[in-house]
């Protein structure tokens, strides 16, 4: 499915940057999951008056980070409860860590791919996140 118009160079770059915001935490070496979301949210609010293409991708990037935050924050809370609280390392905990690491790796690869494609002006819709973004912004796809 194609976007309703072809974005120019400037729009493509800005839309691509919205995905790169989620890499901020990794680049800064920070372990807190909320930093990704904050960086993406700041970029989203900074581009509220940008073109539709840019706003669409900022919204999709923000939704991706919001769900990732929930997943990673639960893992962080569980880890802290083991270190500082009364919980112990269990099979459920280890398998949860493996699960979220797997999802984070998939999300990382997909984000890089999406950033590259968007930079070329190509529209990339993620499964579920793209659908949700369409529903939030109204369908722009012919």
């Amino acid at each position: 499915m194609a976007f309703s118009y072809s974005p120019d160079e400037y729009e493509s770059e800005r839309a691509s940057n919205s995905y790169l915001m989620s890499m901020v935490a990794i680049m800064a070496g920070l372990p807190l999951p909320i930093v990704n979301l904050l960086a993406t949210a700041i970029f989203y609010f900074g581009n509220r008056k940008a073109s539709t293409f840019v706003r669409w991708h900022c919204t999709q990037a923000l939704l991706i980070q919001a769900l990732t935050l929930v997943m990673n924050a639960a893992g962080l809370y569980w880890t802290l409860s083991i270190i500082f609280g009364d919980n112990t390392i269990t099979n459920g905990y280890i398998s949860y860590l493996i699960t979220i690491v797997s999802f984070n790796i998939i999300e990382f690869i997909a984000t890089i791919y999406t950033a590259m494609q968007t930079r070329k002006g190509k529209h990339v819709e993620w499964w579920f996140f793209g659908t949700l973004t369409n529903e939030i912004m109204g369908s722009l796809v012919r």
Binding site: M71, I83, F84, G85, D86, I89, T90, N91, G92, I94, S95, Y96, I98, T99, S102, F103, W127, F128, T131, L132, E135
Partner: protein, 270 residues
């Protein structure tokens, strides 16, 4: 139902299905998690024990240690605790102090034995420290105060002796937080009652200590200001009312006199 909601449910389903499938594997056994944890704490315990005992004489008299171990055995046996896992060390020092180290080491200063009026009071203090050991307060305190990375370095033998001394100092001279102290006091009351020792002995000891040794450093766990020793004493007396026991003597008079007398002298190692 909207397409987005259906896709969300499918995505969540994949997530939980993966999590559930992976949780069927026994990772704890495969990665020897419990053994590694015990081994690390054992190494940490050895390092910190050496630092805590440096500069002090450890009393190794059979007579004295047999008395202390008999008290320990009575407390542990009545409460289903494996007493072989708790290692008692008697240190020649005039300070009135007792504290626990990683790997279930329990250090008692001779000054404490000298100050106790009865073996029941000594049993009370030991029960309190066993309460900390059983609730794993020692490692939690160290992780909070020293940090996990530093502890791992210490256990790995890569940290200097100064770090080990600081860790030992932290454990010997700073109190646990209010919640942990209350938890250890409550555990002590229960441990004592199950061993048929009147928990009042611990309350009396703490109260007397706070009154007679008001000039003692408040950072020592036994006489910490946080929580207040008088409040702790009152709380112990309240908890005591809920327990059922038939108070029996901990040591006979001869054994107690021997313990107190021998604890004052430094014996040659066994």
């Amino acid at each position: 139902m909207s397409k987005a909601l259906l896709q969300f449910l499918a995505l969540a389903g994949c997530f939980f299905a993966l999590w559930y499938s992976l949780s069927r594997f026994d990772f704890v056994k495969k990665f020897h998690v419990e053994e590694v944890t015990r081994e690390e704490e054992h190494k940490l315990g050895d390092v910190v024990l050496e630092a805590a005992c440096s500069g002090h004489e450890e009393i190794r008299s059979d007579t004295v240690l047999d008395c202390l171990n008999s008290i320990k055995h009575r407390l542990c046996a009545a409460n289903g605790i494996a007493d072989s896992t708790i290692k008692i060390h008697l240190i020649k020092d005039d300070d009135i102090n007792a504290f626990s180290l990683p790997d279930n080491h329990l250090l008692i200063y001779s000054g404490l034995i000298d100050y106790c009026k009865s073996p029941e009071e000594l049993a009370g203090v030991m029960a309190h420290e066993i309460g900390h050991i059983e609730a794993k307060h020692v490692m939690k305190k160290l992780v909070k105060d020293v940090g996990l990375a530093m502890l791992a370095t210490l256990a790995g033998g890569q940290a200097g002796g100064e770090i080990a001394r600081q860790v030992a100092q932290t454990l010997s001279s700073t109190a646990f937080d209010r919640e942990q102290e209350s938890e250890a006091d409550a555990a002590a009351v229960h441990i004592l009652a199950k061993a048929n020792i009147d928990p009042r002995c611990l309350a009396d000891f703490l109260f007397r200590l706070s009154q007679e040794k008001a000039d003692m450093p408040k950072s020592f766990e036994l006489i910490s200001d946080h929580p207040n020793s008088k409040d702790r004493s009152a709380e112990i007396l309240e908890l005591r009312k809920k327990e059922h026991y038939a108070a029996q003597q901990v040591l006979n008079d001869d054994e107690w006199k021997t313990l107190k007398g021998d604890a004052e002298s430094v014996d040659l190692p066994r």
